[in-house]
């Protein structure tokens, strides 16, 4: 009889507690749901959600704890400010403590919070480390549950990706062997995350990459290049690239893992990111030594890279373009291999089609590396009409960025300009075909720093090639050279053998007699002189600008002389007479010039 009221009381009390628990749970779940939408974040923050969530983290109902952690993670994920707020409210130590205590759902949620905090900045990641999260996360990596491992690996990766010190801290905590074990797990998402974390660790310095390699990573992850899962392939390619990029030894370690057929297959992947990461991997390997570059060529990788450059557009092209440049830079034979693999047309196409300047600059650099070895290489490039395209870029970027360049040399096109100029120079110095050089010999459109090399090439070819001399005259090249001499010598031309110089001597300007003008002593002047020496003086004069006016003056002088002779009745002989300019006294007789009209 007495038992029933007690039972009723108990039930009433329990009902209150149960109701309270339900309400807490509902609150925290609602907050978590609200936090998943970005638009609610500000309102939540304004409502002081952080201080309310913190005690709920310590609730005695696991579901509430989890939901609170989840809400916190979402808040911290949103932006750096919120993450900082999480750090400031001293939640991290609690989380870290409970990481080693609670069930796996809670661990997952806690690792999510840590990840969300660490992802924003190095300082926040450092504060996560300071709260002792590393050991807890690493003990989570030893957990059975793949989900817990995954989120722990993810958090570790986010911590490590900021800088070398944080990464070193992760390595020192002993994460690498466990991550390598995680890569061998059957769950795909865990493998992806672990590979990505390894990549983040290895990317900072050679020592860290070595630490990753020392855990026997390479032989384990290289077979995954053939894994059917595309996202895993992405991460594996990226990790290998990050390992290989530091030193020759590391690159050789990666290559020794027999990446080759698979890495090339990845270049043809259906997934764009796999392709890009594989191209980066090949690029990082190729850049180290000629041997490694040759290995890539020998394994047929160069064809794959060329196809890659052909197929991709935009920024993804860059690693392929750089690979071609690196390979071609090492030796003549390798450059030839690039040409044989039909590497030039895609580069040329990228040079004209791509919009971004750094890609253009990379293309120009690669083309320069291909062309700088021998006349044959340069000939191939000129057959693909590379030179006019480079020149076009150079002149257009000149026009576009010269005003800004005047203020500071770091204008938008500065890098592209120097790269293009160097490439043009390299190629031009090896070009020996008149047909290729002739279009560039334009006194007005070609800038002087390029014209110098063009004229220099003619000065190299013409003294030795008789047929070329003739072709040079008939194509109008000689005339253009004289125009160039005239333009760049300015008012005081100093290139010997030109009419302009003689006229200047006539005028007796002081500068000429001292030999100081725009072209004396410069290479351009030298080259023009060399070219002029290949032809008879008459030809040079004939093609000099202003020759017709000189001839007309001659006619005038001759008629005046006739008048003078008729008037005075005797002809005054002078040993040497010069062409006269307007102000001077008319010499009595014209000395016969070299060419007679």
């Amino acid at each position: 009889m007495a038992a029933s009221p007690t039972a009723a009381n108990t039930r009433a009390v329990f009902a209150v507690f149960e109701k309270y628990q339900k309400e807490r749970l509902m609150f925290v779940q609602t907050v978590a749901d609200l936090a998943s939408r970005e638009s609610n974040i500000d309102a939540l923050q304004a409502a002081g959600v952080m201080s309310l969530l913190r005690p709920l983290l310590l609730d005695n109902v696991p579901a509430i704890q989890q939901a609170a952690a989840l809400a916190l993670g979402r808040l911290a994920n949103y932006n750096e400010e919120m993450a900082q707020a999480v750090v400031d409210s001293d939640i991290l130590p609690q989380l870290v403590y409970s990481l080693s205590e609670q069930n796996r759902f809670y661990k997952k949620a806690a690792a999510f919070v840590l990840r969300a905090v660490a992802k924003h900045s190095p300082e926040l990641a450092q504060s996560v480390i300071d709260s002792g999260a590393l050991t807890a996360l690493i003990s989570c990596l030893e957990e059975f549950d793949p989900g817990v491992k995954e989120s722990a690996a993810w958090a570790l990766g986010y911590i490590a990706r900021h800088n070398g010190d944080l990464s070193q801290a992760v390595v020192d905590a002993g994460a690498v062997p466990l991550l390598v074990l995680c890569v061998q797990e059957p769950e795909l998402s865990l493998r992806r995350i672990a590979a990505s974390a390894l990549s983040d660790i290895a990317k900072h310095s050679p020592e860290l990459a070595q630490a990753v390699v020392d855990a026997n990573t390479v032989p384990i992850i290289v077979p995954l290049l053939a894994n059917p899962d595309a996202k895993l392939r992405r991460q594996v390619c990226s990790a290998l690239a990050q390992i290989a990029k530091h030193t020759v030894d590391l690159a050789e370690t990666v290559v020794d893992g027999e990446i080759f057929p698979n890495a090339l297959n990845c270049l043809k992947d259906v997934d764009g990111y796999v392709k890009k990461n594989a191209a980066t991997l090949i690029c990082e390997i190729a850049k180290h030594t000629p041997e490694l570059a040759q290995l890539i060529v020998n394994s047929g990788g160069i064809a794959a890279v060329v196809d890659y450059v052909n197929e991709t557009r935009g920024n993804a092209r860059l690693p392929g373009i750089m690979t071609l440049g690196y390979v071609a830079a090492f030796s003549e034979t390798l450059a030839l291999a690039v040409i044989v693999a039909k590497g030039v047309p895609p580069l040329t196409q990228a040079l004209t089609v791509e919009n971004e300047e750094h890609i253009k600059a990379a293309c120009a650099w690669s083309l320069g590396q291909i062309g700088r070895h021998s006349p044959d290489h340069a000939k191939t490039l000129s057959d693909h009409a590379v030179l006019p395209k480079l020149l076009k870029i150079l002149t257009s970027s000149n026009a576009g960025s010269s005003p800004s360049n005047d203020e500071g040399s770091s204008g938008p096109g500065a890098d592209l300009k120097t790269k293009t100029k160097r490439a043009l120079k390299c190629i031009l110095e090896k070009t020996l075909s008149i047909d290729a050089l002739d279009p560039l010999l334009q006194p007005h459109s070609t800038p002087p720093n390029i014209l110098k090399y063009v004229v220099g090439q003619f000065a190299k070819i013409l003294p030795h090639d008789v047929a070329a001399r003739r072709a040079f005259v008939t194509s109008g090249g000689l005339q253009r050279v004289q125009e160039i001499a005239n333009i760049y010598a300015g008012t005081a031309p100093g290139v010997p053998g030109t009419l302009a110089q003689q006229q200047a001597l006539e005028r007796g300007s002081v500068t000429v007699q001292q030999g100081a003008n725009a072209l004396t002593g410069t290479k351009m002047g030298e080259y023009i002189r060399t070219i002029n020496e290949c032809y008879p003086e008459e030809i040079v004069r004939y093609y000099s600008p202003g020759y017709s006016t000189t001839l007309l003056e001659k006619i005038d002088e001759y008629s005046r002389q006739q008048d003078f002779a008729g008037g005075s009745g005797h002809i005054q002989q002078q040993p040497f007479s010069r062409l006269s300019s307007a102000g001077e006294q008319v010499p009595p007789q014209l000395q016969p010039q070299g060419i007679t009209a």
């Binding site: 579901a63 759902f105 997952k108 990505s196 043809k268 064809a303 034979t333």
Partner: protein, 414 residues
């Protein structure tokens, strides 16, 4: 003789003088002739002699000259020949030197500077390799595209299948709350699953930026993955609804054929898990509680001594999620895994306990037959060997207890 002498003697005086005078006269008369004749004779003779001498001297001089000149000529010739031979030899030497130099320089420059034909061959090889690798890559590309396409097809088919499974009234009714279920309990339960879903989604959703970009093409698969991971959860959660809504936005409205609705994998699975195969065959349904009670009533052996089949049945008992007990597992296999781990934690020893019919001992004669107090033949092959080999004996003496036949008999009975 005397006569002749006398005559001669007689005539002697006269004849001789006469003769003398005659002869003197003759001599006087022919003196000039004689003289001239003598001169002539002498002249001829002397001329002849002198000429002959001169001839001889000339011949001698010529001989001398001939020999000398021959000597000189031969010397000259010899020198000439020597010189010419020397020249020829030197020419040969030069030619040989040139040949050696040519070969060496060719070799050296080919080896260390530039080898045209080698490079040509290398480039040819590279060309060939490039062609093969292009073919391989093309084949790989086609294969991968094919695999990708098939994967998509399979995924789409699976989605369709699952949708069909959801549409069946049997599966659908599992979500309908019972008549007596109270409202608050249902709400709490649903929101719990919402948490589970949300956690899952959050882990999936918070990918690094570079992973996100290619998600457009994966969006068809994403909700499906989500569903798979939460297959034993209640499916009426808000997250699921929203994901379904998303899917309906992405996909055209589905037409699910009638036969798919009636018979599909999801339905079969649900039946297997929730109804059971035996029950389909018409076996009377028994509540598991009753079964347990029945088992507890008959005094069966406990623990590892249970028959193997029973043990396995207990271990693989399907999970019955209840509303009262809060569990943290999704499905049967995970629960079993957890249970296995718990059991392994409880184990004292790692060794597998097996009940065998007969215990094999390494040395069957180690245990003395019959009387335990009879003498042992020490020093034999398998007996004591003194105290030298203590470790060996230590190992053997650990099992001093005789095998008890009782266990074997028990095992037989079981």
């Amino acid at each position: 003789m005397a006569l002749s002498f006398a005559r001669i003697w007689n005539f002697q005086c006269t004849d001789i003088v006469e003769d003398l005078f005659a002869r003197s006269r003759d001599a006087e008369l022919h003196r000039h002739e004689e003289y001239a004749a003598a001169v002539a004779v002498q002249k001829v003779w002397r001329g002849y002699v002198v000429r002959r001498r001169m001839q001889k001297l000339n011949t001698n001089a010529t001989t001398i000259q001939r020999y000398w000149r021959g000597h000189l000529g031969r010397n000259f010739l010899e020198r000439l020949v020597i010189e010419r031979n020397r020249k020829k030899r030197m020419m040969h030497y030069y030619a040989m030197a040139v040949r050696i130099q040519k070969t060496w320089r060719g070799y050296y420059s080919r080896k260390y500077k530039f080898h045209y034909y080698q490079r040509k061959a290398y480039i040819e090889n590279v060309k060939e390799k490039i062609n093969t690798i292009r073919e391989q890559l093309a084949a790989h590309c086609i294969a991968q595209r094919q695999a990708d396409w098939e994967h998509r097809q399979a995924t789409a088919a699976a989605i369709l299948d699952r949708l069909a499974g959801n549409r069946h009234h049997l599966v659908g009714t599992q979500h309908v709350p019972g008549v007596y279920a109270d409202d608050g309990g249902k709400k709490a339960r649903l929101s719990m699953t919402a948490v589970g879903h949300a956690t899952q989604e959050d882990v999936e959703g918070g990918k690094p930026a570079d992973l996100e970009e290619y998600n457009m093409e994966d969006q068809v698969q994403e909700p499906e993955e989500e569903n798979r991971s939460s297959k034993c959860h209640q499916r009426q959660s808000s997250t699921f609804r929203s994901s379904q809504a998303r899917r309906h936005q992405l996909l055209p409205p589905l037409y699910i054929p009638e036969e798919n609705l009636k018979d599909n994998d999801a339905l079969r699975k649900w039946l297997r898990e929730h109804v059971g195969l035996q029950r389909l065959k018409g076996k009377p349904m028994r509540r598991p509680v009753e079964e347990e009670q029945a088992e507890s009533q008959s005094k069966q052996p406990q623990g590892p001594f249970l028959p193997r089949q029973k043990l396995e049945r207990i271990l693989r008992k399907p999970l019955r999620p209840s509303l009262r007990v809060e569990t943290d597992f999704y499905d049967t296999s995970n629960a079993q895994k957890q249970e296995r781990r718990r059991r392994e934690g409880l184990k004292v020893s790692d060794k597998v306990f097996t009940v065998v019919q007969r215990v094999e001992h390494p040395h069957p004669d180690y245990f003395h037959d019959g009387d335990p107090y009879s003498m042992v033949s020490y020093g034999g092959k398998k007996g004591f060997r003194g105290h030298a080999d203590k470790t060996h004996h230590g190992r053997e003496f650990r099992n001093i207890v005789r095998p008890v036949a009782l266990f074997d008999e028990l095992a037989n009975d079981l």
